[in-house]
């Protein structure tokens, strides 16, 4: 689907400023970023394109990030598209629920630019089959 060599990240984040910050970080590092504030925008985009990565917030204005993640996982086209959850809901229970619906990694807010990039690049270049829990990167052992 992609015309250019850059890899595409679909960014779903309701908070305008945070969306802009994440977008800027990714664009600065040679990613093609598509942004949308909610579930419906994301579904609309996904009906036409297959991104390399979906980066989503759990708290969205209407349907939640969990639902979006479930939607992505239901469709065979996105079987190899990793999902990165970026959220300030970070209790073990939230993280477990994210994993149940098929998210590949969970990045807690607030985060730093380098950390976000580390998560994104590990998800894109790491061994997908084993579904790396990128959260463990923080302790230094790359999955």
């Amino acid at each position: 689907m992609q015309i250019d060599a850059k890899r595409t990240v679909l960014l779903v984040e309701d908070h305008a400023r945070e969306r802009e910050i994440i977008r800027r970080i990714l664009v600065d590092n040679d990613f093609n970023v598509e942004t949308t504030p909610d579930y419906h925008g994301a579904v609309k985009y996904l009906s036409q394109f297959v991104p390399n990565l979906v980066c989503l917030d759990l708290t969205l204005p209407r349907e939640s990030g969990f639902e979006l993640c479930e939607y992505v996982r239901k469709d065979a086209r996105f079987r190899f598209v990793p999902v990165l959850v970026v959220s300030d809901r970070s209790s073990p229970e939230d993280m477990a629920q994210a994993e149940y619906v098929g998210a590949n990694a969970f990045l807690k807010k607030p985060f730093t630019g380098p950390k976000l990039l580390k998560y994104v690049t590990t998800l894109l270049d790491g061994p997908h089959a084993s579904r790396p829990s990128v959260r463990r990167l923080r302790r230094g052992d790359v999955p």
Binding site: F66, P92, E93
Partner: protein, 457 residues
């Protein structure tokens, strides 16, 4: 992650502060220059010596002494007070030296420094050294994230292992090893010291196993935590954030009375410190008597099982011959107490002095030090020996869910004349219906029994 250097640094820095305090206290003394140095050196030497002994008795520099921050600070101040008191007395005894008022300066310099340092060390320790061992049941995403979260939080909690539910595969990315399945819980709790168990299961598919684990934990009296929601929340948060701060609801097998518990600990410290001070002449006499009349050490250090099964050394005046433990095996046949306890009426291993100090429970007095250290309390179930605990049935292990004590219901209710099971029931009753008022009643009842020497063996 052991950092013994924290303790060494603390020790050295405390020494420097004490010497600095002495230097300030002896400044401007109205004597010739030569004398000044002698006084300063004597004073510093005494201060450091007393501090070292006191610190050793109270296990002040042990990496883990089982005390909270509050208790530790109170003990630090107490230790400082004792050192200062003895030094003042010592200086009064030297007639030429009347620098009593200079101690105020000593105190002003040394005390805040030492206490502040202690707080820093405790804070460092809390960050660096995990000490409360927890067990997680469930190796699924929730169990794993819970373990990682505990690792990340870096406070005083350490995950010692996982148990998996029967429908879970063995997972390899866990922060601790898998010790077995949920049905092994009872065996694991018997083997390991565990202060809390996280039951990270799903109520839809693992409900019966979770319920089984809860039953075991209630029987053992070990605190546990259940997932607060078990549901997916995209937006909603608990109204009272603190109620489920880590996503779990925490349960205790006893009624939580934090204020009363804190008061109890405070009473323990105050009572044991003043009792030690008052009884020190008597204890000194007894110590000399023991040393003179029989071969062997004055104190008898026995390993006993403390709260949540953590072993500690209980102190007693030695009332038996030095090789008493070896003789115990031969005498086992004559045991008069049913159950896993060993007691016989006319024990041939007891020495003459031993018989006397036992009759009036003087042999138990060194345990005031255990109380001061925080390993024991004044009132609480008597700490059992490890071999006894090994033969406990599950429900009897609940005795270990509170701090052991010097006296309890059993001690004031006719002592050896009741059966082991009744004794256990009395201890359970004490644990389940604990209150500060009840503690004081027990203390008041204990005093006449000890003084009369009734029922003691």
């Amino acid at each position: 992650m052991r950092r013994p250097t924290d303790q060494t640094l603390n020790r050295v820095a405390d020494g420097i502060l004490l010497v600095a305090g002495c230097a300030v206290a002896t400044m401007n003394l109205p004597w010739q220059p030569g004398w000044h140095w002698v006084v300063f050196l004597c004073m510093s030497g005494l201060a450091v010596l007393l501090w070292t002994i006191g610190g050793r008795v109270l296990r002040h520099y042990d990496v883990w002494n089982g005390r909270g921050v509050g208790g530790d600070i109170v003990l630090t101040i107490l230790l400082l007070g004792v050192v200062l008191g003895i030094m003042m007395v010592a200086h009064r005894l030297v007639p030429a030296y009347r620098a009593g008022s200079y101690f105020r300066r000593f105190f002003v310099i040394a005390a805040p420094g030492i206490v502040w340092l202690r707080l820093t060390v405790l804070w460092l320790q809390r960050r660096e050294k995990p000490i409360e061992p927890v067990l997680i049941i469930g190796t699924g995403p929730l169990g794993r994230h819970t373990g990682l979260e505990i690792l990340d939080r870096k406070d005083h909690v350490r995950v010692i292992g996982y148990l998996r539910f029967s429908d879970e595969p063995i997972h390899d990315r866990l922060p601790a090893e898998v010790l077995g399945t949920a049905s092994d819980l009872e065996d694991v709790l018997k083997r390991l010291v565990v202060s809390e168990v996280f039951i990270s299961g799903r109520t839809d598919s693992q409900r019966s196993e979770m319920q089984g684990a809860i039953r075991v934990l209630e029987r053992f009296g070990i605190p546990f935590a259940l997932p607060a929601g078990g549901f997916r929340f995209a937006r909603a948060r608990p109204e009272h954030e603190n109620a489920v701060a880590d996503g779990y609801i925490h349960y205790l097998s006893v009624k939580h009375k934090p204020v009363q518990l804190a008061l109890k600990r405070l009473f323990d410290i105050g009572a044991s410190a003043s009792a030690l001070a008052l009884l020190s002449p008597l204890m000194l006499v007894v110590a000399v008597l023991i040393k003179v009349t029989s071969r062997g050490p004055v104190l008898f250090r026995q390993t006993r099982v403390g709260r949540h099964g953590r072993p500690f050394h209980m102190l007693k005046f030695r009332s038996m011959v030095a090789n008493a433990e070896e003789l115990k095996a031969k005498l086992m046949a004559k045991n008069e107490q049913a159950g896993p306890v060993f007691k016989i009426a006319r024990d041939p291993r007891v020495t003459a002095v031993g018989r006397f100090i036992r009759k009036y429970s003087i042999d138990e007095l060194p345990q005031l030090v255990n109380v001061l250290r925080g390993e024991m309390s004044v009132v609480g179930p008597r700490p059992p020996v490890p071999s006894e605990v090994a033969r406990y049935e599950a429900w009897q292990r609940r005795r270990l869910s509170v701090r052991p004590g010097l006296t309890c219901v059993w001690q004031v209710s006719g002592r050896n004349e009741i059966s082991f099971d009744d004794w256990m029931y009395l201890d359970m009753e004490y644990i389940d219906h604990w209150s500060l008022a009840h503690d004081f009643q027990l203390i008041l009842k204990t005093v006449p029994i000890v003084l009369s020497g009734r029922g003691a063996s």
